[in-house]
Symmetry: C2
Subunit: 190 residues, 2 copies
């Protein structure tokens, strides 16, 4: 199906925003700097994205789509691909910073990104439960079910990002994440 001119422009803006985020981080990713990169006036950009928050939410949605299309096969996500995703995130601090800063803002009352993150978490927890069931079956260490371990897996990913963003020399994010997977795997059977 051919994309309309407007859809193409929208995709172009998202790519430009991702570049600006990678180069200048969350604070540098202003509507003005993104508009400049795609050769629009700021007024022209507002036609596609009315606020900085709306633009950033769209960028994060687009990242989720890319990450999951690469990270899932016909069966859904797999734990080793999740491991690679954390490794990949450790090489793109700009977008991780944007995710983490916007997540922080989203918990405040009436924030425009609140709905996005609330729905995303519901979806991510369900996906993580599927991943865990596929990998470990119904019973995880500590007597946990996949559904009970899923919020923990999600919390570790997000929580480690804050520690890593603030002090990358002190926190090896991919290796800490693998440590958590070891806890979930439980004692080797023999």
């Amino acid at each position: 199906m051919a994309r309309t001119r407007s859809e193409e422009r929208r995709a172009e803006i998202l790519r430009a925003a991702l570049e600006v985020i990678a180069e200048r981080g969350y604070r540098g990713a202003t509507l003005g700097s993104v508009a400049e990169r795609v050769g629009l006036t700021q007024q022209g950009l507002l036609h596609y994205f009315p606020t900085k928050e709306a633009l950033l939410v769209a960028v994060l949605e687009e990242r989720d789509r890319w990450d999951t299309s690469g990270g899932r096969d016909r069966e859904g996500w797999r734990l080793d691909l999740l491991d690679s995703l954390v490794e990949y995130n450790a090489m793109r601090p700009g977008i991780v910073q944007t995710f983490s800063a916007l997540l922080g803002e989203s918990v405040t009352d009436g924030h425009p990104a609140r709905e996005f993150f609330t729905e995303r978490y519901a979806h991510v927890r369900a996906s993580m439960a599927d991943v865990l069931r596929l990998e470990f079956g119904e019973r995880l260490p500590g007597g946990l079910t996949p559904e009970r371990a899923a919020p923990l897996l999600t919390a570790v990913m997000d929580g480690l990002q804050y520690q890593w963003l603030l002090d990358p020399a002190a926190v090896d994010m991919p290796s800490a994440f693998r440590d958590f997977l070891r806890l979930l795997a439980g004692p080797a059977e023999h």
Copy 2:
């Protein structure tokens, strides 16, 4: 040692800020509303705390002092007290929201709370390693040391707060935290 008038005023402002945060959350805790509660002009408040961020960081520092004075005995923190702290946090969404929102902002470049959170994490990870060593000794499940499990324990606490703040009906924070402690405890010995 007697506190000076200025120290007393400062303590009074922090108590007022904590009240305002509890009632109105992160966004409602403006310098103006805190000044009003202690009977100062906003200009007068600025003498003690030059920015909203400086005031909120001072509130979080004060909370840490209270939490740790209640939560540690002569040996330092204990894991069951940490469990109670998470339970307690689930009853004070205002301050947890303030912590989580400010942590989110702090990862952006040049943010005034960046140093506070970076140092706090270094300190918290060291304390958590002590707690884990006291409770489980040198070897945790998955072959982890207390030092390797400490960032995970910290990440779970922070990460669960975001999920809980966004959707308290979907995430039982204290019970999820106890699930994580079960993972750390490993299989019952027999």
